[in-house]
Subunit: 410 residues, 2 copies
Amino acid sequence: MPLFSAVTVEQAKSLLKTHLQGFEHKIESVDLFSAYNRVLAEDIFSPEDIPGFNRSTVDGFALKAGDTFGASEAMPALLTLVGEIAMGEKTNIKLSTGEAAKIPTGGMLPEGSDAVVMLEYAQLMDDTTLCVERPVTPGENVVAIGEDMKRGDIVLSRGHTLRPQDLGALAALGIREVKAVKPPVICVISTGNEVKPPGESIKPGEVRDINTYSICGQVIRWGGVPMPLGIVKDDFQKLYDAIKLALEKSDAVVLSGGSSVGTRDLTVKVIENLGKPGVLAHGLPVKPGKPTVVAVVDGKPVIGLPGHPVSAMVIFEIIVRPMISMMLGRDEDFGTTRILARMSRNVPSAAGRQDYIRVKLERRGEELWAVPVLGKSGLISGMVESCGLAHIPSQKQGVAEGELVEVELY
Amino acid sequence: MPLFSAVTVEQAKSLLKTHLQGFEHKIESVDLFSAYNRVLAEDIFSPEDIPGFNRSTVDGFALKAGDTFGASEAMPALLTLVGEIAMGEKTNIKLSTGEAAKIPTGGMLPEGSDAVVMLEYAQLMDDTTLCVERPVTPGENVVAIGEDMKRGDIVLSRGHTLRPQDLGALAALGIREVKAVKPPVICVISTGNEVKPPGESIKPGEVRDINTYSICGQVIRWGGVPMPLGIVKDDFQKLYDAIKLALEKSDAVVLSGGSSVGTRDLTVKVIENLGKPGVLAHGLPVKPGKPTVVAVVDGKPVIGLPGHPVSAMVIFEIIVRPMISMMLGRDEDFGTTRILARMSRNVPSAAGRQDYIRVKLERRGEELWAVPVLGKSGLISGMVESCGLAHIPSQKQGVAEGELVEVELY
């Protein structure tokens, strides 16, 4: 069996990326109503100018801006009202110098007009005489043809995750269906002789399976489809069969458990026997979460997370989350929110190791402070109390009280 | 018809809250695998101590901490190895002074032991003689009974939205099903004679229905279930019938359109005829988005948003988003991320009016800057380009370049 030296998190991610280069996104057509949060598999170009006509943004009077230059309350411009624009209809009105037409918000500007004066700044003296009390500039209160989106412009790019406003933009373009990447199916397996499903009673020495549930939640959170496969004993053949089945059923496999030296080696041995290239990295210089296995078997990632629930969640965020993004064809860090906050106390860290500290955030005046949630890495309650992870990069030996740190929010 | 004076956003929300006081949350049982992002309808107490036994967090040797006090590489403590703890099993080993037992990560500490020394700091001299090279403190490398969660402790409160770590905590407690609030069904209606569905070709003067799609996306984003009812013409009877049907089918109705004075009044008139208490607020001192209608009909909210796509989205965020949270029984501002950033240029605002400016964020050194996305409020492309809304409170007359503003991220 080959030996694997610990690599950095960046190296592990880049190894994974290299081996996923050939990964083929499955693509499906998705109706706009189902497209929220889906990743585009195509560039979207505007098939036409939006708006398709010069549109008023206010209730008022369409006119030639030049006719109002110099107008004031004391010296209003007097225009002739020649008609009214109906909403949603093309008008036959053509304005000449000195003429105006009533127009509703969203109405189409008549030929000859280049601006709209708001109702509030114009008064009708009689049926046809309009008194404008302030000048308007050309284009004022008007959205010009193609000002929102121009024909041929790229509106949304492949790899973009659709937000509500993007759905609106697609609707504006008359697009009712888009090509989206199919979310990857991720098999989730817990391992360990001592691990029992939450529904069973447990004896002293046994623990309930936490990781299946928190990891399935993380898979959903980041846009994958979880397929929980239950608990597998620390046994070569059982683990081999389980991962083999998982690889057949899904696009990637995430295991957790096997934190003790013997079972960690078991996971590595099983993966090495399943296919090529096998294990890419074994062990990451990260706290919490050292015992991590990053592998690819016949084009599909197999990630072995630590057994400690908190370590498993942290390593998921730094390895599996970006992996899901790669499989979706979007930015690695999509959806993460990183903010700067001041650390509320000294936190030591070893050089060459990345530390992730669970923190709560407190606002003190104009500043945000990160307050570490104390507790051992096995405690799920510490994750429940915290709202993000403060990151101490590997080149730093800890952070001092008051120092700025980057916090990734859950 | 009564007259409604414009109220502030806070007044409108508080009026809505008062009238939703009696709103009954529909509750359903949800399996843990389907519980991600659901809102708890019950408090969760720990039914037992977690862990249920003193558990080792490392591979090492269980011992009495007192036996190692003063130990060093030069002066190691010599202990007698009396056995090995098997993973997942209760052990019969009882340690006396001067004794140690091998223990795996996650193993149950034997009676008499109070700490674990890591493998790295202990050496076996022969089959039974263990040489410990550094002192351990009582409790070191051990998670004590109930240290994670204590029996009877409240672990998660009613109104809490379940994150991956919360699912893990529930699994740890042996809880496989929770009571969750059923997401409110929100009917979405677009109004306007000029509005056409995205699938139809449009004539000059007509526009495609954008709001149905962006609003349905926002409803999903904030935990509701959208029910789009299509486009309704500016006609009393048609609008009356549509809202009546919507009220029968859903928990709340969100309309958009009717920005011009005439159609705005139509919406108000229809709501006043549908039931009590009717319109609570008409017009909000907000830019963009003044023409807003906030109403309750027979216990169900009816919200009229502006027709401009951007205004509709902004008013959704400040009125409908907190409304959905109220209906889910969770914190009004749940899920919003607000950060402080420096405004990149002077932005004027009228006193007494709240302004929401679409911004992009740029990191400059250690500071975050908010760069306004220019463009008229009708342009959906401005929403596509921006990543959040900077808020200018009503008591301020604009913000100066470099001033800190609160930005709510999409």
